[in-house]
């Protein structure tokens, strides 16, 4: 049912050209050779990590492939290397051979003079002197002129107002707002409008949604047993409030990575670490698998992988997660870096955590909890003696106990007298087995240990009493190293050991990892100097400082590019999460750097100033009309000879329909609205079809809807709302029959069409409210005729489905 079909990108064979080390040679070496032959593990004293290392080890004689050891061992009918797996493919051997024959030129950052654009130091380029008032325009016009193009004229005021409203607050102007803007003939009417919108609480609600796309925020765990996260929302509110308060970027970064450590007395900074817990979580893997099993270790590995991938690609637009199984094939990110990043998060799990709005109470509770943590650390080894005590008889008893439990559960409520009797027997057996088990364990553990356990446990009592005297805390789903145990999900109580894993396999640990970040950022030390590495919080704090450092060029380039992406529909770098060699290059590198430095140094990390700079540019304000000369020279509008027309995203459609219907409830914050019928179960049921769209309290902005991972809202999904388990730096825009049906027939749309009709009263007013303009004479007749014949609700349904309603010019 697709309307447009995509073509699969085919590899581009460039014959007769010089072979690139980074593009064609290093990826092969990284995957097939470097797992054994690297700087840390030089099997056969040969490292293939860099051109220099290969030359030094004698594996490579530039210009002479036949004399190069590397070529010798991979060539022939039965090549000596690689030892594992198939021989290299003929074209791979050929590429390596040709590269050496060409003199083995090194085009990598590590060995050559060229520095990859995103890792080059940030310097403020001069603004081109071409008369443009806004530096953004000055940079853009240089490139347009070079392509023989000119910008488009400014869009009309109605179009411009609708555009900037959607862009900054995610809603169209109401009739009154539009009239007020059109009536304001002051030369700075537009700038004043921009300021009003940036000051509106709706701004944070709009831009929080972009943030959630990037960090894949969801309110259920995902996987099997997709339980709701009832306490994720305080983090959602933190994002909205922080954006509305225009929190400086450095602080925004730091609070989310380590707010609890860096700002221990600020409860809000504590809530901010909900960021670390935003992604999916495998409940069964964490709560039901046994400690020490491979699957348990793998569950933890992949859980940390999600955190590392999210942090690095979100804040620094690098794909560190590509170095889990081998060194990054294209970017200078060794496996060691990746596992060092894992070590940063080795002390935390995703879990509910208490906090208090009152800073004094907060401080007190956290201090008490730290005391409890210290007690638990001494207690845990003793408890483990009890928990893991084992003899053959215990094993047998465990099986018998489990058998009884399984059969009892499976039976459910007994239905026959025979079942009743069976259940009674099983229960009796289970009790006897448990008693016997306890006896054996007691014998193994011994009375001294139990006495010690009781003695240490008694230390909890005074602390718990103090905690009980505090007011009831609030709860946020975030990252923690100490929390009440649930099943086999136990707190780390401190960083778990992390190793560099051969091929990413938990059963192939190599060198230990140490907390650190990316070595490819040359301006900052990548290994963290920590006073106490066993303090997990200090690890995260060090990473937060590393990301937020003004010398971290990636951070500053990343954020301004993201903001640009949402204003123009495409970033200056069109791969907002990947500034590496496989990502796109910036179309306007000088502009990107200028913006990054300006944002850091002049705007002091103020997003609102950045928005203002961009949306007041002529480039932003120009018309989106197609032009033959532009389409011919730059069909995909990378040079911005016009503004891009965009289709409303799912949230904007939802919120606009509510606003048109006069039903939009602008209540902010608090628990999310469930737009589904819910039943808790082994795997809870989230049924969107069994939901009445007129349910009281459900007409709030879509940022406040409950986001389920296993069963996403089908209406939103059909409008390209991304899967909340995937980081979505950009949304796709698809157009399908199924989507048309959702817009035509979804009960929400139809119910709102009825409310809209009641509110509008006439066809003319409906056009004004839905499209923000007066109806033309023809429309007036056609719409009024249709409404007269079938009722205004039918017309409202049609209006919701028009392209004019769904696109922003």
């Amino acid at each position: 049912m697709r309307l447009l079909a995509a073509l699969v990108a085919l590899p581009i064979w460039v014959l007769g050209q010089q072979v690139s080390f980074t593009k064609s040679v290093r990826p092969v070496l990284a995957e097939r050779c470097a797992p054994c032959h690297n700087d840390r593990n030089t099997s056969g004293k040969v490292s293939l990590a860099s051109v220099a290392a290969m030359t030094k080890a004698g594996a490579l004689v530039a210009g002479k492939p036949d004399e190069s050891l590397l070529v010798k061992v991979i060539s022939g009918d039965r090549p000596r290397m690689p030892k594992f797996g198939d021989p290299l493919k003929a074209e791979q051997v050929d590429a390596i051979r040709r590269w050496i024959a060409d003199g083995a030129p090194d085009d990598s950052t590590a060995g050559g003079p060229e520095v990859w654009w995103s890792l080059a130091p940030l310097k403020r380029p001069p603004v081109p002197a071409n008369g443009a008032a806004n530096p953004v325009d000055a940079f853009l016009r240089e490139k347009l002129a070079a392509a023989g193009l000119t910008p488009s004229p400014e869009a009309d005021r109605r179009t411009l107002a609708r555009r900037v409203y959607y862009d900054l607050v995610g809603l169209p102007p109401t009739g009154e707002e539009m009239d007020a803007f059109l009536a304001d003939r002051a030369p700075d009417a537009y700038e004043k409008l921009v300021d009003r919108l940036l000051a509106s609480p709706r701004y944070g609600e709009r831009w929080a949604r972009h943030w959630f796309d990037v960090i894949h925020y969801g309110e259920s765990h995902g996987y099997d047993k997709d339980k709701p996260r009832r306490n994720a929302w305080p983090y959602r509110d933190w994002v909205i409030q922080s954006l509305n308060a225009d929190m400086p970027w450095v602080r925004f970064v730091k609070e989310q990575v380590a707010g609890d450590v860096l700002y221990p007395d600020d409860p809000r900074a504590y809530v901010a670490t909900g960021f670390l817990a935003a992604g999916p979580w495998d409940l069964v893997g964490h709560q039901e698998l046994r400690e020490g099993s491979s699957d348990k270790d793998n569950t933890r590995l992949l859980d940390r992988d999600d955190v590392v991938a999210t942090v690095v690609s979100t804040f620094d637009s690098m794909t560190a997660h590509c170095a889990r199984c081998h060194d990054h094939k294209f970017d200078p990110i060794p496996q060691q870096d990746y596992y060092n990043l894992q070590a940063v998060f080795a002390g935390v799990d995703r879990v509910d955590r208490p906090f208090d709005d009152d800073p004094a109470v907060h401080r007190e509770r956290q201090a008490l909890l730290r005391r409890k943590l210290e007690v638990q650390r001494r207690l845990q080894p003793l408890l483990d003696q009890v928990e893991f005590a084992s003899t053959p008889e215990i094993v047998t008893l465990d099986s018998s106990i489990q058998d009884a439990s399984l059969l009892i559960t499976h039976m459910g409520e007994p239905k026959t007298p025979a079942d009743v009797e069976t259940k009674r027997r099983l229960e009796a057996r289970r009790v006897a087995d448990r008693n016997r088990r306890q006896e054996i364990v007691d014998g193994l553990v011994g009375p001294e240990t139990y006495a010690e356990i009781r003695r240490i446990e008694a230390e909890f009592k005074p602390i718990d009493e103090e905690i009980a005297r505090l007011p009831k805390p609030r709860t946020v789903y975030t990252a923690a190293s100490y929390f009440p145990r649930a099943g086999t999900f136990r707190p780390s109580l401190g960083p778990r050991p992390v190793f560099v894993l051969g091929r990413g396999n938990v059963r192939s640990p190599g060198k230990p990892a140490v907390p650190g970040a990316l070595t490819c950022v040359p301006s900052l030390p990548a290994r963290f100097e920590l006073k106490d590495p066993s303090d997990e919080g200090s690890r995260r704090a060090a990473l937060a400082d590393w990301i937020g450092d003004e010398r971290n060029m990636l951070t500053w380039r990343s954020v301004v590019n993201r903001v640009w992406h949402y204003h123009f529909g495409a970033g200056i770098v069109d791969t907002p999460n990947d500034f590496g060699r496989m990502g796109s290059k910036p179309t306007h590198p000088e502009l990107l750097d200028w913006l990054a430095v300006w944002f850091r140094d002049d705007a002091h990390g103020s997003l609102k100033q950045l928005h203002r700079l961009i949306v007041t540019s002529a480039a932003y304000r120009q018309s989106s009309r197609n032009r033959e000369d532009g389409a011919k020279a730059d069909a995909d509008n990378r040079l911005l000879w016009r503004q891009n027309r965009t289709r409303l995203d799912a949230e904007a459609v939802h919120d606009t329909i509510l606003q048109a219907a006069g039903k939009l409830d602008l209540t902010m914050g608090g628990p999310p609205v469930e737009l589904f019928w819910f039943k808790d179960d082994h795997s809870p049921v989230y049924d969107y079809a069994r939901f009445d769209p007129d349910t009281p309290g459900s007409h709030r902005r879509s940022i406040y809807r409950f986001i389920v991972r296993s069963v996403p809202d089908p209406f939103m999904e059909r409008l390209d709302c991304p899967d909340p388990s995937v980081q979505a730096p950009k949304r796709s825009t698809t157009i399908t029959a199924i989507q048309a049906l959702a817009m035509l027939n979804n009960p929400f749309v139809l119910k709102m069409a009825e409310h809209f009709a009641e509110r509008a009263g006439t066809a003319e007013q409906a056009v004004r409210l839905a499209l923000g303009r007066e109806a033309t004479a023809e429309e007036r007749t056609a719409y009024a005729d249709y409404a007269a014949k079938y009722g205004l609700a039918n017309l409202c349904r049609v209006l919701f489905n028009t392209n004019e309603f769904l696109f922003v010019d």
Binding site: G583, R625, N626, A782
Partner: protein, 472 residues
């Protein structure tokens, strides 16, 4: 960047021409495959469509298709496979023979348990993969793996990949349809048939066969009584007119045209969907073949029959689920407690309908270019859990294929003498998926989508086509 998002995100220039071209192709029903490859993308295709039968909860290999006399011989004895066994939630119990007897079937003499006698009759059309392994021992991740090739959420399912690769065979129905078990969604819910990072247009359309509203939003709900037949007809005509006028004022934007066309296609779907879901016109013999005359088999029979109707009308990929989540009372194959009871009920419900589907497809000549793919997330242990159940076994389990260029009457690979570990030609889903794509005319290494720094594939960085499974 792929061509689709290029077109979508930058609208503009190419628009009109590309749209007309692509739509023209699709109107011919050719999808994206190349005519000279029989609709394949990279090489000639043997198969055009797929029906995947997914046994949610882990169907036991050693109670269905993996016959091991040793289990019968050593039944009740202490199990000693000669190494430490790491189980999901239990310690290994005694050797547990299947509660069902075993018989040989067909020319090939394949042993099949008495749980699935009707499928047994079809073994000469089936290629069994006896040596599958899973990378997780947990339902959620393993179910993801079998669907998407990854043990993490957020990746596209095989059906989405096929939709992305080959496009549609008809303009009247979706490319990819899923029919969950009426008792509920499997573990991971709809994320099992998600398009992941592929554009949302490749995500499955869910059909709840036999319910009053089988497809979400296909028609206005009864509560919207203001929409009469005439209001609908005239409303769509009005919408079309308004959108065309808007298009005339905004030339050169393919998306605006595509939206206009999307309503035309929606109307076609409205016409064809009720027809395809209406099975009353099927003959008595056909209904019996699928077990519609028996309460125990009627649901699966209805969904298998609906699958055939969807496939013969041009749907690319249909996924049918046997079993819901892992809760109680048991409603899927996760038989930790009482295998005879729970596998017994599910096997009974499955056997005749699936055999009926195979026989019906064959009789209609559809089996030649339709793949029937039976799978599950992992297997079950040859020892008992407690006294009557079996725990998870990710080390060895069975899937099978029929039709669409798969060879009949073969068994590829094997588990050890216990049906514990795959020892002969062990494979992960990667090779199975690679082989499936191969028969659809797709090179699994060249079907990729760039996402977050990695060129993602259904087969991750693995996968080898299994030649032994291919009919010559």
């Amino acid at each position: 960047m792929n061509r689709r998002s290029f077109l979508w995100n930058y609208g503009g220039g190419l628009g009109g021409v590309a749209l007309a071209h692509l739509m023209g192709r699709e109107a011919l029903g050719a999808g994206r495959g190349r005519p000279e490859f029989n609709g394949g993308l990279h090489h000639p295709a043997k198969a055009k469509r797929v029906v995947q039968l997914f046994m949610s909860g882990a169907a036991s290999q050693c109670d269905t298709f993996d016959y091991k006399p040793l289990l019968i011989k050593k039944g009740g004895e202490t199990w000693d496979p000669g190494e430490k066994v790491e189980l999901f939630q239990s310690n290994p119990g005694a050797v547990m023979p299947s509660p069902w007897g075993w018989k040989q079937y067909g020319q090939c003499g394949k042993w099949v348990s008495d749980l699935l006698p009707h499928i047994g009759e079809c073994v000469d059309d089936i290629a069994f993969v006896m040596s599958l392994m899973a990378k997780s021992n947990v339902h959620g991740p393993a179910t993801f793996m079998q669907n998407t090739g990854f043990i993490l959420p957020g990746f596209p399912s095989a059906g989405s990949w096929v939709s992305y690769a080959l496009g549609n065979l008809t303009d009247n129905l979706p490319d990819f349809v899923v029919m969950p078990d009426p008792r509920g969604m499997p573990p991971n819910g709809a994320a099992n048939w998600s398009a992941g990072f592929l554009p949302a247009s490749h995500q499955a359309t869910m059909i709840r066969a036999g319910t009053p509203t089988p497809i979400h939003d296909l028609f206005p709900p009864s509560s919207a009584s203001f929409i009469t037949k005439d209001a609908e007809r005239d409303g769509l005509a009005l919408l079309n007119r308004v959108n065309r006028e808007h298009l005339a004022e905004h030339p050169g934007d393919s998306r605006l045209e595509a939206r206009i066309a999307s309503y035309e296609m929606a109307a076609r779907l409205q016409l064809s969907a009720p027809e395809v879901l209406e099975i009353r016109g099927e003959s008595e013999a056909t209904r019996k073949l699928y077990g519609l005359d028996n309460e125990a088999t009627a649901d699966m029979g209805r969904r298998c029959l609906t699958a055939r109707r969807l496939l013969e009308r041009g749907v690319r990929f249909v996924q049918v689920w046997s079993g819901a989540d892992n809760g109680f009372p048991r409603r899927n194959w996760d038989s930790h407690e009482n295998l005879a009871k729970d596998h017994g009920d599910l096997g009974m419900a499955l056997d005749k309908p699936v055999a009926g589907l195979l026989k019906d497809l064959k009789a209609r000549g559809l089996l030649d270019d339709t793949v029937v793919y039976w799978t599950t997330e992992f297997g079950r242990m040859p020892c008992s859990q407690g006294s009557k159940g079996r725990d998870h076994n990710p080390f060895g389990f069975t899937s099978w294929f029929a039709g669409g260029g798969f060879k009949g009457g073969v068994s590829y690979g094997a588990t050890d003498e216990w049906s514990y570990k795959a020892v002969d030609k062990p494979v992960y889903c990667y090779d199975v998926h690679a082989t499936l794509l191969h028969l659809l005319g797709i090179d699994h290494k060249r079907l990729s989508y760039w996402h977050n720094g990695i060129d993602r594939r259904l087969t991750d960085v693995h996968g080898v086509v299994i030649p032994e499974l291919l009919a010559s």
